[in-house]
């Protein structure tokens, strides 16, 4: 261990741990400024939206497998959605749109950024709270009304937005085309408000990571989760304003008679695609970089070894984030593009394969010659590696412009994006939730049920989404209301039925997870401060940590991945453990 000179006589302002005063119920649980409570609030909100998004997916899958048959219990839907339980095409389009919207903006993004960002940044860098606790509270309380607004759009005249989660203009810009007026406007307004929530969070994360690292917590001692969240926050800060601008333009097209995107009056529909994807591709990395961080953390913990190639991992995160800005055109290969420009986008896109490969091989290197403990978080993290690579490799087909001609807007794309967002992000989220649950609630989730959840999810997830690659290559298109309407697709219908059953099973296993999540809060085994025998700072304090986190600001002596360091009895060393005599060389 190299001993760096550490300044220990920091003059800290009184942080929240000192002078701790009793706060009432409302300040503790509702309008809390404690980053851990805000993380839990985000967790509750996004799990509810995750469940809602899953329910919408169930309805879609029912229609795709059994078109024209009444939905069991579908009588509760009004006639404008599903008369007699039979899903109407316009309602189906709303389902497609809202499933994507809820999952991306209200489930995956807040789970990764809102939950883990809030929970981990202060804890892992050794800070008492975020730099701007009230801004943090505002961030959550902007997300809630945005979610309600989005939800409310189902119940207004014309129903919820039905132009796809990408809301391509002019379809989305003029209610004439979809019959949805207010629903689309609520969609736009809701995302606009949610954008402020994200920006407030991002400003906070960036400031906190730069300014509030504990003494000795140098940049290259940071856990990779923090690196990933820090870089993600920068992406959020830069990308969301672009979306906000585009949303406002679309909203004024809808309501004030402007014509940014309306071709009949000289507007340019392609402008929407450029703006949306200039935001949208960095958004893709917002949804995966934190997952990279979580997985790195947990793989090293499971293997009881330092992360392989820490420095390269950090550079890969930065490289992916940077490249994410210059690839948006690959979503628009079919939109009509100069071949030279298309080639450029194609090449920048493929280059992302290089940092991604570095990450994958470094993960394998981390496991290599490790002492692998198959904890539940580890299982999810290993599943992430095996599934993310499928999503990554299928991405190469799309990056190759001419091949994309075939698979663009088919079920191949549906398969790809679910391999990245479900097999990738969501498995990392399961890994993260099961890993940090004890830190949040002081109790462990039930391991047996968690294992059952993992095995069921892994099997049925693959059974549900892998066949979609084949369906896409056979020419089954996205946003298809009734596959049996086409004779040749009707022959492939058994696959759709199969996928739907797999999705039913997949969702059933998620119910196990939700129940385990809730019941373990009361029934779970007491976790103790460090159930995973990990190194980073959050494990040096009680679970759940008290208000203000650290009794004293910790002093950091080493990196976050000093597993199995020689000279210590245990195979882990907390980052703030003072160096022992014999370990110092």
């Amino acid at each position: 261990m190299s001993q760096t000179a550490i300044k220990t006589d920091w003059d800290f302002p009184a942080f929240a741990g000192e002078g701790h005063h009793e706060v009432g119920f409302i300040r503790t649980y509702i309008f809390s400024t404690d980053h851990k409570m805000i993380a839990k609030q985000f967790l509750a909100m996004s799990l509810i939206f995750l469940a809602l998004g899953g329910t919408l997916a169930l309805l879609m899958r029912w229609q795709l497998a059994f078109p024209g048959q009444p939905l069991p219990g579908g009588g509760i839907f009004p006639d404008t959605m599903a008369p007699g339980g039979i899903i109407l095409p316009e309602f189906y389009n709303s389902l497609v749109t809202m499933h994507g919207t809820f999952m991306i903006f209200f489930a995956i993004m807040p789970l990764l950024v809102g939950v883990f960002g809030n929970l981990l940044i202060p804890l892992q860098i050794g800070a008492g709270d975020m730099a701007f606790p009230k801004l943090n509270m505002l961030s959550f309380w902007l997300a809630v009304p945005a979610g309600f607004m989005m939800l409310a759009s189902f119940f207004v005249e014309g129903g919820a937005a039905g132009a796809g989660w990408t809301a391509y203009a002019p379809l989305s810009a003029d209610g004439e085309f979809t019959g949805v007026y207010l629903g689309q406007q609520l969609w736009l307004g809701s995302l606009f408000i949610l954008g402020f929530s994200s920006i407030a969070g991002a400003v906070n994360y960036i400031t906190t990571v730069i300014n509030m690292r504990a003494p000795g917590m140098t940049w290259f001692r940071l856990p990779l989760t923090i690196w990933a969240l820090f870089v993600t926050a920068i992406l959020v800060l830069l990308a969301i304003p672009i979306l906000a601008g585009a949303l406002i333009m679309l909203l004024t097209d809808q309501t004030l008679g402007t014509a940014f995107f309306l071709p009949a009056e000289g507007g340019e529909p392609l402008l929407w695609q450029h703006l949306f994807w200039f935001f949208g591709h960095p958004e893709v990395y917002i949804l995966i970089l934190p997952a990279f961080g979580i997985v790195s953390e947990i793989l090293a913990n499971g293997a009881r070894k330092p992360i392989f190639g820490y420095f390269a991992m950090v550079l890969a995160i930065i490289a992916i984030a940077f490249l994410g800005w210059i690839v948006w055109g690959h979503h628009m290969f079919m939109s009509g593009m100069n071949p030279l420009l298309g080639t450029t986008f194609m090449f920048t896109t493929m280059v992302i394969a290089v940092p991604s490969a570095i990450k994958v091989f470094n993960w394998l290197g981390t496991l290599w010659k490790g002492n692998i403990h198959f904890t539940v978080p580890f299982l999810h993290a290993a599943a992430f590696v095996s599934l993310f690579i499928i999503g990554g490799l299928s991405g190469i087909f799309m990056a190759s412009t001419p091949v994309d001609i075939h698979i663009h807007d088919t079920y191949f794309i549906v398969a790809h994006l679910h391999y990245v967002l479900f097999g990738g992000s969501l498995f990392a989220i399961f890994a993260g939730i099961t890993y940090w649950y004890p830190k949040m609630f002081g109790r462990l989730m039930n391991t047996t049920w968690n294992r059952i959840h993992f095995v069921g999810s892994f099997i049925f997830y693959n059974l549900a989404f892998f066949p979609m690659h084949g369906l896409g290559l056979e020419g089954m298109m996205r946003r298809l209301y009734d596959p049996t309407q086409y004779g040749w697709l009707a022959e492939l219908q058994p696959w759709n039925v199969f996928i739907t059953y797999a999705v039913f099973a997949l969702i059933a296993f998620q119910v196990i997870f939700f129940l385990n999540f809730i019941i373990s809060m009361w029934r779970g085994e007491d976790a103790g401060p460090n159930p995973w025998r990990a190194n980073s700072l959050e494990w040096s304090i009680p679970s759940p940590p008290p208000h203000g986190n650290f009794e004293r600001i910790p002093v950091v002596h080493r990196g976050a991945y000093e597993y199995s360091a020689p000279g210590w009895d245990e195979d882990f060393v907390l980052q703030n453990e003072p160096p022992s005599e014999e370990a110092v060389q």
Binding site: F177, E265, F308, M346, F361, I389, I396, P402, S564
Partner: protein
């Protein structure tokens, strides 16, 4: 975790099995130069990715089994990295990327190369929710079934009056967005997307709108008939001598309000419109009268050589030759056609043609509040099917 590897192998086999069969919109059976180029690239990328997938999965599975924690294990050695290995797995993927990029770039330019001199231009218009094909050289307009001569390069000009559609015929290779034609100042040419390819085999190909365009997006299909040059010319000639054509003389007065009276007006036996059709099937004659004189079909539809010259809906010349109706979603037969005329929204919600059952209120304003009887609908269907 061997479960993982085994499950992966089974699923891979399923994928390969799915690729082997022949479905009409299969991406993997090329029938044009364009599609062939893409196919070769697809195959090379497929094997590269399978190779990488196999490497990663095998290492992962092996590592997980081999290095699992056992009783009495020593602490693992701390390995923080290995410069040689790390350079290796940076350079290796970079080389693979280049190996994929080079043929890709060649294919990009091969599929978007300059249009050859002898290419036949066809103006494709994507409507909500049907396709219009205009052949400027031949002066032909048809809908939903594109007829092409084999081995002749075609250059499709893609435009739309409403939202974004996407022209996609997998076996001929093309998919390209059909963007709305943006209004431009006078003297400027609007921008169009173009798609240029040469069909190499005669045949019957399926196509589809691939960009989400609204409620009935999924029902916006099409067919492409690739015919020999002679058959194509014969088709074009037949179109010009439209069998629905009127005799040269004879009063035509579709604008006359009285002619557009509601359905139920008895057919006038001495109307010249009814006399010139080869077969004198009375049902056909009745349908023709309804189409041209009583209902306002002709407000939107055109039949070459008749008074019907509407341009809002598909051109119905040679309709009887089409294999499908309603843009490729129904087989073209009398029953389907009658059902379609009666109630198009049952098949294609939000179609511009609201059907005879619909009240004028709440639907497209130009549709007359006409209610044809079942027999009249059958007659119209018989007339349209006689157009060949």
């Amino acid at each position: 975790m061997s479960l993982l590897a085994r499950g992966g192998a089974v699923l891979l086999l399923l994928l390969l099995a799915a690729c082997g069969t022949e479905y009409p919109q299969n991406s993997l059976s090329p029938h044009s130069d364009f599609a062939e180029t893409i196919h070769q690239l697809y195959v090379s990328i497929f094997w590269w990715t399978m190779f990488i997938l196999a490497v990663v999965w095998i290492i992962l599975a092996w590592v997980l089994v081999k290095f699992r924690a056992r009783e009495g294990d020593e602490k693992p050695r701390q390995i923080r990295g290995h410069l040689g290995l790390e350079i290796g797995w940076t350079v290796g993927p970079a080389l693979i990327v280049i190996a994929i990029a080079i043929p890709t770039i060649q294919a990009v330019f091969a599929t978007q190369r300059p249009v050859s001199e002898d290419a036949m231009t066809i103006e494709v218009t994507g409507h909500r929710f049907w396709w219009e094909f205009h052949y400027p050289e031949q002066g032909i307009t048809t809908a939903n079934e594109l007829v092409l001569p084999v081995d002749r390069p075609v250059n499709l000009r893609l435009g739309s009056p409403d939202v974004i559609h996407s022209f996609w015929v997998p076996k001929l290779g093309g998919k390209r967005d059909v963007n709305p034609t943006v209004a431009v100042r006078e003297g400027e040419d609007p921008k169009y997307n173009w798609l240029f390819f040469t069909p190499q085999e005669t045949g019957y190909f399926y196509g589809q709108c691939a960009e989400f365009c609204g409620e009935s997006h999924a029902f916006m299909s099409m067919r492409v008939l690739v015919e020999t040059e002679e058959d194509f010319q014969a088709w074009a000639d037949r179109w010009r001598e439209s069998p629905g054509a009127l005799p040269p003389a004879g009063p035509e007065d579709p604008e006359d309000e009285t002619e557009l009276e509601m359905a139920g007006v008895p057919a006038q036996a001495d109307e010249p419109d009814q006399l010139e059709i080869g077969d004198d099937d009375p049902l056909v004659a009745m349908g023709r009268d309804i189409f041209l004189n009583q209902a306002t079909c002709l407000a939107c539809h055109a039949i070459e050589g008749t008074s019907a010259q509407g341009d809002r809906g598909p051109n119905l010349t040679l309709f009887g030759e089409r294999t499908t109706l309603a843009s490729g979603i129904l087989e073209n037969n009398p029953e389907n056609l009658a059902a379609w005329i009666k109630d198009p929204w049952a098949f294609k919600p939000a179609a511009a043609m609201p059907g005879v059952d619909y009240d004028m209120q709440g639907t497209a304003g130009y549709w007359p509040a006409t209610a044809l009887s079942d027999e009249q609908v059958r007659a119209v269907a018989a007339y349209l099917l006689s157009l060949k």
